[in-house]
Subunit: 409 residues, 2 copies
């Protein structure tokens, strides 16, 4: 493969995570290391939206080691994000023509897109278009999603930090719930519409210190309210402080979301109807059934934004995968998504690889069957063994006046 000299552009897309800026840092580090081939690396603001407006920021100029380290500890997408899905090729070529014009004008030959499923779709479509139009480019997708639901890769950058936040926070919630002797049920709702990876992470403590939720429900198993009541009753018979972790995406066997129950017929004083969520639905159901004290906690966006509680393993890998993307592109790879390939469990070791993006885009990786117990209400040891290395280690962000120091672009 011939050497391709030209500038690079990097963008971030989809929902933010606590590690997506570490991957951005990795891409910048990679480009700076290959400055003989890539004279300048630009950042596009708000993903492809900004690129189409030619809203580019010269990242080569402004970065030094201190700023890159700060960037790795900064939550959310420093370049901004977007949710644009590119049109199907042939449907609206104007968008592609505009992008090609901007690439040519800025001599951009390298395109790195950090994102989830939709971003891999962008990588696939843009790769096809530039190839068909004889404009040589190296286009690489760099995965990120807290949901861990991309196929081929062992796990996704961003997942480990969100999993660590959930694992630590649920320990704190369980200790908080343990102080009273009155029977009480606490339902913790965790992100994950289609896959239960994040909710599974709530169980990790069982293997470390024995502190873990009594019950764990994932969207991979149909939710049965009667079975749920039996599970809760069995727990309440054993001890007074029952803690339950549940994915926002759990559904009944007929496909309805458990959280939908609270939507139909619910209206507030202003006449609005709204979905109050899966945790709230189960809170109300338990209150009606058992009459005991019940509350629900929704971890909400904190679980994807908590950069103060990053997993060091996740951040290190997020940087590596970003650098690896540039190395791969410079060596001739294109139309691929970077992957993390687990080489061994104990000691944990992973290598950076890549795979055809068309085998990845628009597919969802569910939690493995062997990671869910037979009753469908907890995680197996095999599942915890998979998760445990991903939350290992803590990062050391800089603090000033009691607050973490961020890199704002």
């Amino acid at each position: 493969m011939s050497m391709l000299k030209g500038n690079a552009v990097v963008g971030q897309s989809g929902g933010p995570t606590a590690a997506i800026n570490a991957t951005l840092s990795g891409v910048i580090r990679g480009a700076l290391a290959h400055s003989d081939v890539i004279p300048t690396i630009y950042g596009m603001r708000n993903g492809v939206d900004g690129l189409l407006r030619e809203d580019l920021i010269n990242l080569s100029e402004i970065f030094n080691e201190k700023k890159l380290t700060d960037l790795e500890n900064t939550p959310a997408a420093a370049l901004g994000s977007c949710r644009r899905k590119l049109p199907k090729p042939g449907e609206n070529d104007a968008v592609y023509e505009k992008l090609l014009e901007i690439f040519k004008k800025n001599d951009i030959r390298y395109f790195f897109y950090i994102g989830g499923n939709d971003s891999m779709d962008t990588v696939a479509k843009l790769s096809a278009y530039t190839a068909e139009n004889d404009y040589e480019m190296r286009i690489i997708g760099v995965p990120k999603t807290i949901d861990n639901d991309l196929v081929v890769t062992d796990h996704t950058p961003g997942f480990g930090s969100a999993a660590k936040y959930i694992a630590v926070t649920i320990q704190e919630i369980i200790r908080d719930c343990a102080v009273y002797t009155t029977p009480a049920v606490t339902v913790v709702e965790i992100m994950g519409r289609d896959a239960g990876w994040l909710t599974a992470a709530s169980a990790i403590g069982r293997a470390v210190n024995g502190i873990s939720p009594d019950l764990v429900y994932l969207p991979e198993r149909a939710f049965d309210m009667d079975k749920f009541f039996c599970d809760v009753k069995a727990c309440l018979d054993r001890h007074p402080n029952v803690v339950i972790a549940v994915s926002e995406g759990v559904r009944f066997a007929d496909g309805r979301y458990v959280g939908e129950g609270t939507q139909s017929g619910v209206a507030d004083a202003f006449g609005h109807k709204y979905l109050s969520g899966t945790g709230k639905a189960l809170e109300l159901a338990v209150k009606e059934k058992f009459g005991c004290k019940v509350r629900s906690v929704e971890l909400n966006i904190c679980q994807r934004a908590a950069a103060h509680l990053q997993s060091k393993t996740d951040i290190d890998e997020s940087v590596r995968v970003g650098k690896g993307a540039v190395d791969a592109a410079v060596s001739g790879i294109t139309r691929e998504m970077m992957t993390i390939d687990r080489v061994s469990d104990a000691p944990y070791r992973a290598e950076i690889g890549h795979s055809d993006v068309s085998k990845i885009a628009n597919l969802i990786k569910k939690v493995n069957d062997e990671f869910i117990n037979a009753e469908g209400n907890n995680i197996t040891d095999a599942g915890i063994n998979y998760l445990l290395p991903l939350i290992a280690g803590e990062t050391a962000p800089e603090w000033k006046d009691g607050l973490p120091v961020y890199c704002i672009l």
Copy 2:
């Protein structure tokens, strides 16, 4: 004052915090340092509830330096808690007689109660009873509450850590919200039924790095929905990502809680009525008024349980106040609550003092007028100057396999 030799008992009461175990550690450290006067220090499980069952644990025997340090980094009440309020003297003397019997049986002469308002009430009543019955005791209240609403003391142990959690978390939420360009409003509901101290802490970032909520509403000011809409509109005119911090306890001028609006008439599919909260009420109101994307986030019990994000200043003071309680008691003080007295702002310096518990129990300290801006929708620089030193510094809990190490009693 004569030397009083005898055993000690310590209990924790009320809602847990991320620092109440640091105070417990301080009391144990103090007792161990005075072992010539206090041969044994007992812990009562679940506060006075456990004491009445004589459910005591010998703390002198089981603690070493490593265990005390772990205890200081462990969230919630390691001894358990209770919500019992002692009867008025004369109403039910059986409770007091039982307590006195247990004190005599175990040669207990020192009583330390770590808690909030109700606990100070317990200290006052028990002091009166034992004095009247000629049983010499030293009875000291040691404050803790994330709400910071106790009078006389400059601030309460536990507040600084909760304030730090809120200050850091709101920064992460603001960065998360900043990634898209579509107009959106995010309402963050923060604990504080009667006083807005915790919500005020959301504004701290303004003085450090400029990242703070656009609007901050405390229960100290009557909430006006029309004024609120004007405030929000002005923010949306300036930038697309509006973040609002609001105390759960904000009320309209007529005294109704803002969160009550969502209660009346709201019922779920099972026919339950429920209070969905202040944040949800404002989310729905903004959605109806502006039609833009709106969401609400409730920080919930995480804000009082997050030991992984303690303020070092808070933990150091929490230990000091616990040790100081034993020092004071041994020197002859009784029927007092320990206080933290601020000596200077810059550099911040505080001393441990004590004050008559009857001047403290059952009173609420509101946020100072000069800490709230004239519009009643943000915090003044004076307010931030008060708050800033209280979140300073980070603790270094021990981690094992990606999770913090706790001390479980």
